[in-house]
């Protein structure tokens, strides 16, 4: 039931994202994140964090976006399971590029690039 709501929030969040309804997307992912945390479901927790990062990034809120993309990395570390990290490194680097911090962007792109050949 809760799990069901979680999946459905992620899905509508994704649809909002696709249609560029970014604030609505943010709200869906925000609720999804809380549900995933309550259910202790790290896979869905990552999806929600990534969705939040993407929603903010497309609104030009790069600093806040970095916070959520970094959350994916933190969940990976906590769980000892690194799915989604490649994309997170890339997205964080994209945000730093937008912020003009090319030095830091380069460091994150290096992590991203070093993972491109893994699965």
């Amino acid at each position: 039931p809760k799990k069901h709501e979680l999946i459905s929030r992620l899905k509508t969040g994704k649809n909002f994202l696709r249609n560029q309804e970014l604030e609505k997307a943010f709200m869906e992912f925000k609720t999804a994140l809380e549900l995933a945390q309550n259910l202790k479901d790290p896979t869905e927790e990552k999806k929600a964090a990534r969705g939040l990062g993407a929603s903010l990034q497309r609104q030009g809120k790069y600093r806040e976006a970095i916070k959520y993309h970094s959350m994916v990395l933190a969940i990976s570390q906590r769980e000892g399971e690194d799915s989604g990290n490649t994309e997170a490194y890339g997205a964080i680097a994209d945000c730093y590029t937008e912020l003009g911090d090319l030095e830091r962007a380069g460091k994150f792109y290096d992590k991203y690039i070093s993972r491109l050949e893994t699965d």
Binding site: A93, T97, Y109, Y112, I113, L116, D119
Partner: protein, 88 residues
């Protein structure tokens, strides 16, 4: 560092292609796609893009320590900008 924006643009270029093809694929597969299938298909699209981008991306970074020179890295960048029309 000059090549950093090119990395971002090349990533975005490839991601647009990936998403468009993925949506076409999922719509052809109809409703009710099993979760496992959906995940496999998404991994496929990401796997192909990532593995194809690995070489070019690597050659946009110049760490100074190896044989890759700055001028070579810049040449790679110019070629990628041309070939993927990343400047427009």
């Amino acid at each position: 560092l000059e090549t950093v924006p090119t990395i971002k643009k090349l990533r975005a270029y490839a991601e647009r292609i990936r998403m468009a093809e993925l949506e076409k694929c999922l719509s052809k597969m109809g409703d009710d796609i099993p979760k496992k299938t959906r995940k496999a298909v998404e991994d496929l699209s990401r796997g192909i893009v990532n593995k194809l981008l690995h070489g070019p991306m690597q050659h946009l970074r110049c760490d100074g320590s190896d044989s890759r020179t700055l001028s070579e890295t810049l040449e790679n960048m110019h070629a990628l900008n041309r070939m993927f029309s990343l400047d427009t």
